[in-house]
């Protein structure tokens, strides 16, 4: 008896149908079946936040969510949100502030930050720190990441754009 279940979901705007074992979590499905390597697996127990993706518009831990649970859902990863431009100012700001070294946490950080700037456009520095407290970075000490997010909040509040590090490269 195969335990596989048929699922249909939208991933980065494309409808996908697949057969998956119920035990496969969403990030394994995205990485192994769809070859989307943006969402990372750090701890696989919900602690590190590297696996953050969006399901039906909300950030979730991709390792604490089964692919079968995503049946019928809209899933977005850093790849899709980069292409759509949804993360553009955050990405620009992360580069400008050196808000990464190894980059392992960056996709999760960017997605977590994107929900913050959408939902709490007036967030204080302290609230930014609190919001990203679920995402581990082992390189930067967080200050640069907080700086980058605060810069986007400020720029959006003033209707300004983050100046590109490399102009029209």
């Amino acid at each position: 008896m195969s335990l596989k279940k048929k699922i249909t979901l939208t991933v980065n705007g494309v409808e996908v149908t697949a057969e998956v074992e119920p035990r496969m979590h969403l990030v394994d499905f995205l990485r192994e079946e769809l070859h989307l390597k943006g969402p990372h697996l750090g701890c696989e127990q919900g602690a590190c936040g590297a696996c953050t993706v969006k399901v039906d518009g909300q950030i979730i831990r991709g390792c604490l969510y089964l692919a079968v649970q995503a049946n019928g859902s809209v899933v977005e990863t850093v790849e899709g949100l980069t292409k759509s431009g949804a993360l553009a100012d955050l990405q620009e700001s992360f580069m400008r502030h050196n808000a990464m070294q190894c980059g392992f946490c960056s996709s999760g950080m960017l997605l977590a930050a994107s929900e913050l700037v959408e939902q709490q456009p007036k967030a204080s520095r302290e609230e930014v720190r609190e919001w990203i407290s679920g995402n581990y970075c082992r390189c930067t000490g967080y200050h640069a990441i907080v700086d980058a997010i605060v810069a986007v909040l400020d720029a959006r509040a003033k209707g300004q754009k983050i100046k590109p590090v490399v102009a029209n490269a």
């Binding site: 335990l3 279940k5 074992e21 119920p22 035990r23 979590h25 394994d28 696989e44 127990q45 919900g46 936040g49 953050t52 909300q58 950030i59 979730i60 831990r61 390792c63 604490l64 969510y65 089964l66 079968v68 649970q69 049946n71 977590a112 929900e115 913050l116 720190r129 609190e130 919001w131 407290s133 679920g134 995402n135």
Partner: protein, 284 residues
Amino acid sequence: MKAAAFDYVKPESLTEALGLLAEAGEDARLIAGGQTLLATLNMRLSEPSILIDITNLSELKGIKLDGKCLRIGALVTHTEIEDSDLIAKHAPLLKAAVPHIAHRAIRNLGTWGGSLAYGDPAAEWPACSLTLDATMIIHGPSGERKVAAKDFFIDLYTTSLASDDILVATEIPVSDGAQVFCFQELARRHGDYAVAGLAAVAQKQGDVLTQCKFTFFSVGATPVMAFKAQALIDGKKLNEQLISDAVKVARAEIETIADLTNSAEAKQHLVGVLLERALKQMIA
């Protein structure tokens, strides 16, 4: 690590879910937000043969005001509680507690009912439900029954839910204008499990508190109320001396147990620290 194999079903109604649960027996696990369950599956601390996904059950959804009662469906997520105007107005203790629950990505999926049914002594909702005199609405093979929060949490990760029961919703009496509350939690890092916490409410008239409810969590096998400290504070003018006496009484009456990193003595000390902070905040 990766989870062991299991089957998965997603019933469309409460009746169907109860039937599946009865059929599958003790090997089945209900899954709602799955924010604790998935971690235990990934670590193979739990190996159920089948997961019954209850997220389609409309009976378990939504926050409603029903007269003097707030009904919180078991599937209501922590984020829904965080963002709800009804909760902010009628159960402000929950609003104060919710930022302490993990992180937004986890709050987006984790549920009110899941937290209660799991009965983690370090969790916020069991303590809040005790403090707010909540009533659990449970459906099982023989129909609906109601259990008061004080009779619901039995032991470590153990509630009065039977293996073929489903927690459907919780009823909470709405707070009135004279209610004051305080939620205190000490954790190593924001969003981590509590080292110790306190969910407190009382009625306030001038500098007198009455109908005090002080529930400590992450100090024992279940959330635990400080009955003697409550009785001591009740109806008396709250001053430095009374606070200091209540701290001593609470430290003496709450039987703390150690966790992996914190001793029973440390928790006993923190019981007093939390109560002192809460009383000062509630009377301010």
